[in-house]
Every structure is written in structure tokens, then in C-alpha cells.
């Protein structure tokens, strides 16, 4: 009966190993498809997006007919300095961090300002690539002449919020906090210009009315005399309002309405008030984007994307095969050593180790862990810990001749010593860096699986032999 139990467990291990290493193939639409989830490869094993930025030397303008014309752009040599290139590099890094990028390398050539960014390829990569050169330039300009009245060096920080009005609609607001210089400037602007949305609306309505009135003036002149005598006061105030020029706020060349100006901040409306969830979410993501662009800083030098390419990594399938074969060979040597030293118990322990590796690989696939070089390292470390635990248990079984005691002592000896390694793995799990995070996660799952698996499988097998 016990032999049957041992054989059943061994067969179960073989089955799990076959599923993990070979897969389950089922015919789907005239082709065989592996139903076992595939590994998710990291950028070092799969490929990465490489974006190269160069200092812009051309500018593209679109005419009324939609034709694009390219002209030379000259950036002042005073701007093209090492310090400014470094500022751009740091700003790019801040943007990537704000957007949650977890795997990137930024390289800068300080001589010509060339910047090379390597990004992990996933569903966000295109968005990250877009934000590398997107502008978040804030300025207030005179509407008619485009004269700059306030620029983004006077903006300290941006934030956003949303609130519900009395009609139940949600309005998203952007708040721009100003520097001292900005505060003085906005006071001056609000004294001399119409900047608030309602002020501008009033002026524009008045202008429209005036234009309409002028148009009617042309058609009828006789009745005018009497009307002019009746309203001299209203005209005077209207004229005063009309003398105020209009100033508009632009972010990345898009006009936004100013809702309110306080001492140190400007409140802007993003989109219109809405009860629709989709529109609200769109307005919120627009506000998030603007806030991220403003807070990460501006580029003192204008850059253009020189190339944006997906590059496959040079670690090809041959190298992966050689590494796997080498690992299998080392594992076989260890297992043979265990069989020679511990005989039947060694053989069963070895089979149990193979089953452990199979379950670990399945676990990594279903917990969506990215396979990076660090993950492979963590897998090897986990397997080594499992082998050391098995050898410790077998040694103790030989000495004290009781599987229960041997397992208890083995666990105590190994796991107490490994508490700092568990701490390291746990800290790495919370790291925002893909490679470390996946190392930590693999180690974490390893530390969960090792005790559970060995209690269920290895201990049972050894006990069955002991009882036999």
C-alpha cells in the first residue's frame, strides 16, 4: 500500500513536471496551442524601445492649406550648454518617474546634447515616448499681438482638483502656483488686461453688440440722434471696459479659461462641467498630463525625436539554451550525488526537487513575474535553498532516524538563518525598479513554496519509506 502511495506521488510529480516543462497542447483552429501560460520576458531577454533625441535644428509650420513647411531653427549657443543638456536629462527622468516607468536607462552626450533613452516595451511605451518631447509651456499672452506677459519661469507648481456644482456637474480645475515674480506680474496683468473667462466673455459680447450696432448704423441714420441723447453714461462705461485689452493663458499653445486669480495662484478650468463619467475622466487625465509636464520642469533646449525603434536583445535563443543545459547538467550532478550518498531517500528527494522546480516555474508564470536576468538569478538561489534544505533533512534523517524530527530541525536550521534574505527579498518586492521587484517577487514565492512543498511532498515521501 505504501509502495503504491510512493508511486502515485512520483507519478504526480512527473505529470506536473511534464506540464511545466513541455506544456499542454490542445488543437485550436487547426493548430496545436499550448494551454499553459507562457513566460513574460523582461526587456533584457526580449527587446526594448530605444528613443534618440537630438537638439532641434528645424521647425515645422503648417500653413492654412495644411501644407507643412520646414525651416531652420537656430538655438542660441548660450542655451546649448552642458548644464542645460543635463537639466533636460533630469527632466526626462522626472517625467518617466511621474508616469510610473520602472525600467529605463538615459544616456547623455554632453558635447552635442544627444540623449538616448531605453525603455521597457509594454502598453505604456508609446505614451512615455510621446511625453519625452511633449511641451508643458505655460504663458499668458496678449490676444491680438501675442506679446508674452507671463511665462512658465513664473510658475512654481501645478496641481488639479475637481468639484461638483449645484447642477450636479463635475468641473476639473487646474491650479498654477506662482513665484513672487509671477504674483507681481499677474497683479499687473489683471489690472491692465481682461484675463478672467467672464471678463473676456463680457468684452467679446460687448464687441459683438457694437459691431452689430455699427452694421445697423449704416442702414438707418435718422433715429440715432434721439437714442444718443438718452444713453451717454452707459456708453462711457462700455468704452472704459473696451479699452481693457484681452490676455489669454496658453498651455502648450492651447488656450484655457482662467476661472479665478488669487494672490499666489491662478485657477483654470479644464474642459467643461460634465455629468458624463467618460468626459470627466478625459478631463482628469488631461489635467494630470499638464500637472506632470509642469511639475517635472521645462526643457531649456528644444529637442526633436531622431529615432524611435524597437530593438531585439542580443541574448538569443542559443545562449538561453546553453545556460539552461548548463543548469540541467549541474542539477543532474547534484542529484546523482544525492542518490549515491542517501540511496533511495536521495532518489526520492531528487524527484521531489524536480517537482519543486516544475511548480516554481508554473507559479512564476501564473503570478505574472517578468523573467529578467535577476529573476533567473532568484530562481537559481531558490533552487539552491531547496536543495540545501533537502540535504539538511536527509543528513538529519541519517543521524536521528526520525523524519518528523529531521524535517523540524532542518526547517529550524535553514529558515532561521534565512530571515535576513527574506527581509532583503521583501524590500526588493516593494522596489519601483522592474528588475529588483521581479527578483524580490521570485524569492518571495520561493520562500512561500519551499516550506509548503517540502512538508507536503518531501516529508510524505521520506515518511512512507521510513514506515516501509
Amino acid at each position: 500500500m505504501k509502495k503504491v502511495k510512493i508511486i502515485t506521488i512520483v507519478l504526480a510529480i512527473i505529470l506536473v513536471s511534464l506540464i511545466a516543462f513541455a506544456g499542454i497542447y490542445i488543437q485550436t483552429q487547426n493548430r496545436m496551442e499550448n494551454k499553459v501560460k507562457d513566460y513574460q520576458l523582461g526587456s533584457e531577454l526580449k527587446g526594448r524601445r530605444v528613443i534618440e533625441l537630438e537638439v532641434s535644428d528645424t521647425t515645422t509650420e503648417t500653413d492654412e492649406n495644411g501644407n507643412e513647411t520646414t525651416a531652420a531653427r537656430e538655438q542660441s549657443p548660450e542655451i546649448l550648454t552642458e548644464e542645460n543638456y543635463e537639466i533636460v536629462k533630469n527632466t526626462i527622468e522626472k517625467r518617466l518617474q511621474n508616469l510610473g516607468a520602472q525600467d529605463y536607462i538615459i544616456s547623455l552626450n554632453k558635447e552635442d546634447g544627444k540623449i538616448r533613452i531605453e525603455l521597457e516595451e509594454n502598453q505604456n511605451t508609446d505614451l512615455l515616448a510621446y511625453y519625452l518631447t511633449a511641451s508643458g509651456e505655460v504663458k499668458i499672452v496678449e490676444k491680438d499681438t501675442e506679446t508674452e506677459l507671463l511665462n512658465d519661469s513664473m510658475v512654481k507648481k501645478a496641481s488639479y482638483n475637481y468639484s461638483m456644482n449645484s447642477e450636479g456637474s463635475y468641473q476639473v480645475y487646474l491650479e498654477l502656483k506662482l513665484t513672487k515674480e509671477g504674483q507681481a506680474k499677474i497683479e499687473e496683468i489683471s489690472n491692465n488686461y481682461a484675463v478672467l473667462a467672464n471678463e473676456i466673455e463680457e468684452i467679446e459680447t460687448a464687441q459683438e453688440e457694437k459691431e452689430n450696432a455699427e452694421n445697423t448704423e449704416d442702414t438707418g441714420t435718422a433715429e440715432e440722434g434721439t437714442e444718443n441723447q438718452e444713453a451717454p453714461e452707459t456708453e462711457a462705461t462700455e468704452n472704459q471696459e473696451n479699452t481693457k485689452k484681452i490676455a489669454v493663458l496658453k498651455i502648450a499653445d492651447t488656450e484655457y479659461d482662467i476661472e479665478k486669480i488669487e494672490k499666489n495662484k491662478i485657477t483654470i478650468t479644464v474642459g467643461s462641467a460634465t455629468t458624463n463619467n467618460i468626459t470627466l475622466n478625459n478631463n482628469l487625465s488631461m489635467a494630470t498630463e499638464i500637472v506632470m509636464l509642469i511639475n517635472s520642469g521645462k526643457y531649456p533646449v528644444i529637442y526633436d525625436v531622431y529615432s524611435n525603434r524597437y530593438i531585439y536583445d542580443d541574448i538569443n535563443s542559443d545562449i538561453a539554451l546553453y545556460v539552461t543545459l548548463a543548469m540541467i547538467a549541474i542539477l543532474l550532478v547534484i542529484l546523482i550525488g544525492m542518490i549515491i550518498k542517501y540511496r533511495l531517500k536521495g532518489l526520492l528527494s531528487g524527484i521531489s526537487i524536480i517537482g519543486f522546480i516544475a511548480i516554481l516555474t508554473l507559479l512564476l508564470r501564473y503570478t505574472n513575474i517578468l523573467i529578467t536576468i535577476e529573476t533567473i538569478g532568484a530562481i537559481i538561489i531558490t533552487i539552491v535553498i531547496n536543495i540545501v534544505l533537502n540535504v539538511a533533512i536527509l543528513n538529519k534523517v541519517q543521524k536521528i532516524n526520525s523524519v518528523n524530527e529531521a524535517v523540524k530541525n532542518g526547517y529550524k536550521e535553514i529558515f532561521l538563518d534565512l530571515i535576513p534574505v527574506m527581509i532583503i527579498s521583501l524590500v526588493f518586492c516593494f522596489s519601483g525598479w522592474t528588475n529588483l521587484n521581479n527578483f524580490g517577487m521570485t524569492m518571495f514565492w520561493g520562500f512561500v513554496l519551499i516550506p509548503v512543498y517540502n512538508i507536503i511532498v518531501t516529508k510524505t515521501l521520506l515518511k512512507l519509506i521510513e514506515e516501509n
Binding site: 536607462i105 544627444k114 538616448r116 535577476e374 535576513p420
Partner: protein, 209 residues
């Protein structure tokens, strides 16, 4: 007598480690670390082959023309473009590569309209800076744990061991990398992590004695 030989062994081991670290520091100051080709200042050419490229074939050509120190990578999702990188690529080498690739594939691009691009080098700091904070945090937590758990062995002794052994182990690893001119690259972090873990386990074993 046995104790004396143990002591001698220890002194010898420490001397060898110290010597390796000193040589490593000197090599790093004089020559710096060697880096993987793609992180060094390098030159590359890109060839649009218009069909899926056999990387091995291109690698053979690159090895013939540029020697073994080169990097062949396929570009874009269809792998119909190839980038060949080396520390330097001369006009003659470029022409030879393009012409040899042309012997194997039919495509429009010619040697004349293939440009040699000088690529940006990556600073070691930029390659590894994101690993530093998690290492420091885990180090501090482990340090506190060691002091609490092994306080009976003498707090100062435990503190020194927990600090010095991992630092020496990492310095030894980096010195070996510097002396042997092994390139720093994607395999370096896992080596550093493994040595860190081994050194911590060693500290525990020492504290238990």
C-alpha cells in the same frame, strides 16, 4: 598548533583579499571599469534588409569584418533591419559589411547611403542608480535585525560584522571585475545581489558560532 595555523590561514586570506581590493582600486582609478559594448561610446550602422534577417549570418559577417567585439541586433517588430555596433567602424569596414550582407540578401540600401552613427555612452551611475536605495533600505533593516537577534554575542562585534563583511565582499567582487576587465552590464546586478546574500548568510553563520 592547530589554532596557530587557523590564525595564519585567516591572516593569509585577509592579506589576499586586501591585496585584490587595493589592486582593484588602483585599476579602477587608472583604467576605470570596462563596460559592455552597448554602454560604451560606440559606432553603429543600420541596414534595412527588407526581409527577416538571420542574425547568425549577419553576426558571422560582422565577426569577419570587425573582429569578435561587435554587437548585432535586429530592429523593429518584423526584424527586417539590423544594427551592427562596434567601438569604431571605418568607412571601409562599413562598405565591406553592407556589400557582404548584399551578397546574402536583396535590398535597396547601398554602402554609400549607409551612415556611420556615433552613439552616446552610458554612465555607470545612470546604469545602476535605481538599485542603490533598495540596497540601502534592505541593509538598514537587516542591520537592525542582526543587532536584535545576536545582541548576546556582543552588539559592537555584530554591528561591525554586519557592516564590514558585506562591504568587503562587494569590494572584492568589484575589484575582481575591474582587474579581470569583465564588462559591467546586465549581468552585474545579479552578481552583486548574490554576493550580498552570500555575505549576509556568512555573517549569520559567524554570529552563531
Amino acid at each position: 598548533m592547530k589554532q596557530l595555523t587557523e590564525k595564519k590561514k585567516k591572516i593569509l586570506a585577509f592579506s589576499v583579499i586586501a591585496l585584490i581590493i587595493v589592486i582593484g582600486i588602483i585599476v579602477t582609478i587608472v583604467l576605470g571599469f570596462n563596460k559592455e559594448l552597448k554602454y560604451k561610446q560606440n559606432q553603429s550602422i543600420e541596414i534595412y534588409v527588407e526581409q527577416k534577417v538571420d542574425e547568425k549570418k549577419i553576426k558571422e559577417i560582422a565577426n569577419q569584418v570587425l573582429g569578435k567585439k561587435n554587437l548585432v541586433e535586429t530592429i523593429e517588430i518584423y526584424q527586417d533591419m539590423v544594427s551592427i555596433t562596434a567601438e569604431t567602424i571605418s568607412e571601409e569596414q562599413k562598405n565591406e559589411i553592407v556589400n557582404k550582407v548584399k551578397e546574402n540578401y536583396e535590398f535597396e540600401q547601398t554602402a554609400e547611403n549607409t551612415a556611420i552613427k556615433t552613439n552616446v555612452k552610458t554612465r555607470i551611475w545612470d546604469m545602476y542608480k535605481n538599485y542603490i536605495i533598495p540596497f540601502i533600505i534592505s541593509g538598514v533593516v537587516v542591520f537592525v535585525y542582526m543587532i536584535i537577534r545576536y545582541r548576546k554575542s556582543g552588539i559592537l562585534k555584530v554591528m561591525l560584522r554586519t557592516l564590514i563583511i558585506p562591504i568587503i565582499a562587494e569590494l572584492l567582487l568589484l575589484s575582481i571585475i575591474a582587474i579581470t576587465r569583465l564588462p559591467l552590464g546586465k549581468f552585474t546586478p545579479i552578481c552583486v545581489i548574490t554576493v550580498y546574500i552570500i555575505s549576509i548568510v556568512y555573517v549569520i553563520r559567524r554570529n552563531k558560532k
